[in-house]
C-alpha cells in the first residue's frame, strides 16, 4: 500500500527562512575555507582548533592577525552592499537599481578620494571615512534625485537610474583625476581602492564598520514590511496607509548609509549591490523580510570567494578583489540577458 504523504504546505516566508539558514551555513563553510587559503597552509582541522584557542604560534598568527580581519571585512562589505541593493531596487521597482548603478557609490567614493587626496590620513579616519562616504553618497543621491525627477511629477525610476549612471560616471572621472594629482603612495592606494580593495583590515575599522552596519541594518529591517508594500506600487502603498514620500526618503538614507560604509572600507564594488539581490530574489522571492538578509549573505559569500581566489591563486594574487568580482559577475549578467 502506498504511504500517504501529508506534506504540510510551506509558506513562502518559511521557505525563505530555511534558505537563509542554508545560506548562512554556506557562508560559515566558505569562511572556514577562507581561513585556510594563503601562503601558509593551516588545514581545516587546525583552523577549527585555532578558533577554539588551541592553535600553535603560526596558525594563530596566520588566522587571527592576517586572515580573520580580512574575511570579516569581506563579509561586512557584502552585507552592506547586498542589503542596500535590495532597498534601492524595492524603492524604485527596478532590478537595475543598486548603489553602483545609481551613482551613490561613486558619490561616496569621491568624498573619500578627496579626503585622501587633500591630506587626510586613512589611519585616523576610521570614523570620519564612513561619515564622509555617507555625506558623499547622500549628496550624490540628492543631486541624482533632483536631476532625475521633474518638478511636481512623480518619481520615474528608469529616469533616476539613467541619471545615476551618468552622474556616477562623472564622479568616477573626477575621482580618477584626483588619483593623478596626488603623490605615488596615495595614488596607488586610491587606484586600488577604486577597483574595490579590501583595505580596512584593522580591527578598529572593522568594529566601526560592524556597529555602523548593525545600526542602519536594524533601521532598515524594521521597515521591511513597509518596503514590501512600497514595492507593489506607490499608489497601492498610499492606499494601504503608507506615507510614501516620508518612507521613501527614510529608506533611501538607510540604503545610502549601508552602502557608503562598504565603499569607505572596501572600495567601489560596482556589481555587488546588483548581483547579490538578483541571486537572492531568485532563491527567496520578493518578501523583504527574507530577501534582505539573503541578499546580504549572498553578497558576502561572493566577496569571500573573490578574496579566496585572490589569496589562493598565485597568478592573480595581489590584484584588487573588486576586479575579480566584476570578472565573475559579468558572465552571470550576460547569461541573464540571454535568458530573458
Amino acid at each position: 500500500m502506498r504511504k500517504e504523504k501529508t506534506r504540510k504546505k510551506v509558506s513562502p516566508i518559511q521557505k525563505g527562512i530555511y534558505i537563509n539558514i542554508g545560506l548562512f551555513v554556506l557562508l560559515i563553510v566558505v569562511f572556514i575555507i577562507g581561513c585556510n587559503v594563503g601562503d601558509y597552509k593551516v588545514g581545516i582541522w587546525q583552523t577549527i582548533k585555532t578558533f577554539f584557542g588551541k592553535g600553535d604560534k603560526y596558525s594563530n598568527l596566520a588566522i587571527f592577525t592576517f586572515r580573520l580581519p580580512r574575511l570579516c571585512l569581506a563579509i561586512l562589505v557584502g552585507l552592506g552592499m547586498g542589503m542596500s541593493g535590495v532597498v534601492m531596487q524595492d524603492l524604485l521597482h527596478n532590478d537595475l537599481a543598486s548603489p553602483g548603478t545609481l551613482g551613490v557609490s561613486a558619490g561616496s567614493g569621491l568624498f573619500v578620494t578627496l579626503y585622501v587626496a587633500l591630506g587626510g590620513d586613512t589611519g585616523t579616519g576610521a570614523i570620519l571615512m564612513p561619515v564622509l562616504a555617507l555625506a558623499g553618497g547622500l549628496l550624490s543621491a540628492g543631486i541624482i534625485f533632483l536631476l532625475g525627477s521633474k518638478k511636481g511629477q512623480r518619481v520615474q525610476p528608469t529616469r533616476l537610474i539613467m541619471t545615476g549612471v551618468a552622474v556616477g560616471s562623472a564622479y568616477g572621472a573626477i575621482s580618477s583625476i584626483m588619483t593623478y594629482i596626488v603623490d605615488e603612495n596615495k595614488m596607488e592606494f586610491l587606484q586600488r581602492w577604486q577597483q574595490g580593495e579590501l583595505w580596512g583590515t584593522q580591527w578598529r575599522y572593522i568594529i566601526v564598520f560592524a556597529v555602523w552596519l548593525a545600526i542602519f541594518a536594524t533601521f532598515t529591517y524594521r521597515n521591511s514590511r513597509t518596503l514590501n508594500v512600497i514595492n507593489t506600487s506607490y499608489d497601492i502603498a498610499r492606499g494601504l496607509g503608507v506615507n510614501v514620500g516620508k518612507q521613501f526618503v527614510y529608506m533611501a538614507i538607510c540604503a545610502v548609509a549601508l552602502s557608503s560604509s562598504a565603499v569607505a572600507f572596501g572600495g567601489n564594488f560596482f556589481f555587488l549591490g546588483l548581483i547579490g539581490p538578483h541571486i537572492a530574489r531568485r532563491l527567496v522571492g520578493t518578501d523583504a523580510r527574507v530577501l534582505m538578509p539573503a541578499s546580504g549573505i549572498i553578497a558576502g559569500i561572493i566577496v569571500l570567494l573573490a578574496d579566496i581566489l585572490v589569496q589562493g591563486l598565485s597568478f592573480i594574487s595581489g590584484i584588487p578583489t573588486g576586479i575579480v568580482i566584476t570578472i565573475l559577475s559579468v558572465p552571470y549578467f550576460l547569461y541573464l540577458l540571454l535568458r530573458s
Binding site: 504546505k9 513562502p12 507593489t232 498610499r238 520578493t286
Partner: protein, 322 residues
C-alpha cells in the same frame, strides 16, 4: 442619527503642477450604495477618485470620511476605513495571491509584526469571497486578467473597510469577466453593506450596476442621481458629445444607450464645417503635389544628380546598343 453619507467633499480643488483640473468639487456620496463616476476622457473623474483616495494631494478643500475630516486622521486610520484600487494595479509577479491579499492587513499591523491568526483568517475569507481560494498559492504573474482583478479586490477586502474606491476595475477584461467583477462588487455591496465608488468607462454597465451615477464634464459635476435621472439624451450630448438613443433594458429596467453617433454627424447635407474640412483637405493635397514638383525641379538643377542622370543615360544607351 447615523449619517447617511460616507464621503463628503467640500470645495475640493485638485490639480497637477499648478494646472487646475477640478476647481471646486462638492459631493455627498451615500453610505452603502454603489456610485459610478462617468464622463469623457480627461473630464477629471479619475482625478477626483484619486484625490478622495489621497493618492494625489488636493490643493485645498476637505474630504470627510464617515463624519471625520480626513486631514485629521492618520494614514493608517484612513486605510482602515477606505480602500482604493488604482487602475491596472501592479505588483511583483512572484508574489503569491495569499501574500498579496495579506498586504491588505498592513493598516492593522504595527512595526515588524507578523500576521496574527485573525489577520490570516480574514485573508482566507477575502480569498473565499472572491472565489480565489483555489489559486491562493499561485503566483500572480500566472493569473488571467479576470483572476488578477479579483485578487486585487480581495486585497482591498482584506483591508476590511466600509468604503472601497475602484478606478476602472473592468479595464482590459472581456465582457463576461467585466460582468463577473461587477457582480462581485454588487455581492459585496449587498452582503457586507460596502460603499462602492468607482470610475467606469462603460455607461451601460455603470447604469446597470450603480445606485447612483455621477456624470462629470471638464472638472465639474454635470449630473448626480439615480441612473434613470442621469442617463439621458441631454447628458450624453453634453458630457460625451454623442447623440444616443436611451431605452430601458428589458432585463433590469435600467436605462441603456442603444445606438449612438457623434453629435452633428447625423444631420445629412453639407454643413459648414464639412465644407471647410473639404477645402482644407484639398489645399493640403495640392500643397503635397506642389512640393513633389519642387523637389523634382531642384533635382534637375542639382549638379550631382545631373551627373548621375547623365551616367545613367549613358548606360541606357549602351544597353540600347546591344
Amino acid at each position: 442619527m447615523e449619517n447617511e453619507n460616507s464621503i463628503v467633499t467640500k470645495e475640493l480643488k485638485i490639480g497637477y503642477d499648478g494646472h487646475i483640473i477640478v476647481p471646486s468639487f462638492d459631493i455627498e456620496l451615500k453610505k452603502g450604495k454603489i456610485t459610478s463616476i462617468i464622463g469623457a476622457n480627461g473630464c477629471g473623474k479619475s482625478t477626483v477618485l484619486k484625490a478622495i483616495g489621497r493618492i494625489i494631494k488636493s490643493e485645498s478643500g476637505t474630504v470627510i470620511i464617515n463624519d471625520t475630516d480626513m486631514s485629521n486622521m492618520k494614514n493608517k486610520e484612513i486605510a482602515q476605513q477606505m480602500a482604493i484600487l488604482p487602475q491596472t494595479p501592479t505588483a511583483p509577479g512572484t508574489l503569491t495571491c495569499r501574500e498579496l491579499v495579506g498586504y491588505g492587513r498592513f493598516p492593522y499591523q504595527s512595526g515588524f509584526g507578523k500576521l496574527s491568526k485573525k489577520d490570516k483568517l480574514i485573508v482566507e475569507w477575502a480569498l473565499e469571497v472572491t472565489n480565489m481560494s483555489e489559486f491562493s498559492d499561485r503566483e500572480i504573474a500566472s493569473l488571467s486578467g479576470g483572476q488578477r482583478q479579483r485578487v486585487w479586490i480581495a486585497m482591498a477586502l482584506a483591508q476590511q473597510t466600509g468604503i472601497i474606491l475602484l478606478d476602472e476595475p473592468t479595464t482590459y477584461l472581456d465582457l463576461a469577466h467585466q460582468l463577473e467583477v461587477l457582480e462581485l462588487l454588487k455581492k459585496l455591496n449587498e452582503g457586507q453593506k460596502a460603499t462602492i465608488i468607482m470610475v467606469l468607462h462603460d455607461l451601460n454597465l455603470a447604469s446597470r450596476y450603480s445606485d447612483y451615477l455621477l456624470a462629470m464634464k471638464s472638472g465639474h459635476i454635470a449630473g448626480y442621481g439615480e441612473p434613470k435621472d442621469v442617463m439621458t439624451k441631454e447628458m450624453l450630448a453634453d458630457c460625451f458629445g454623442i447623440d444616443g438613443d436611451i431605452v430601458d433594458d428589458g432585463r433590469n429596467g435600467k436605462p441603456v444607450c442603444l445606438s449612438y453617433d457623434l453629435v452633428g454627424s447625423s444631420d445629412n447635407g453639407e454643413t459648414n464645417s464639412n465644407a471647410a474640412y473639404a477645402a482644407r483637405m484639398d489645399k493640403l493635397q495640392s500643397a503635397i503635389a506642389e512640393s513633389e514638383k519642387e523637389k523634382e525641379e531642384a533635382r534637375q538643377k542639382n549638379f550631382f544628380y545631373k551627373t548621375v542622370d547623365k551616367v545613367k543615360s549613358c548606360f541606357k544607351k549602351k544597353d540600347g546598343d546591344k
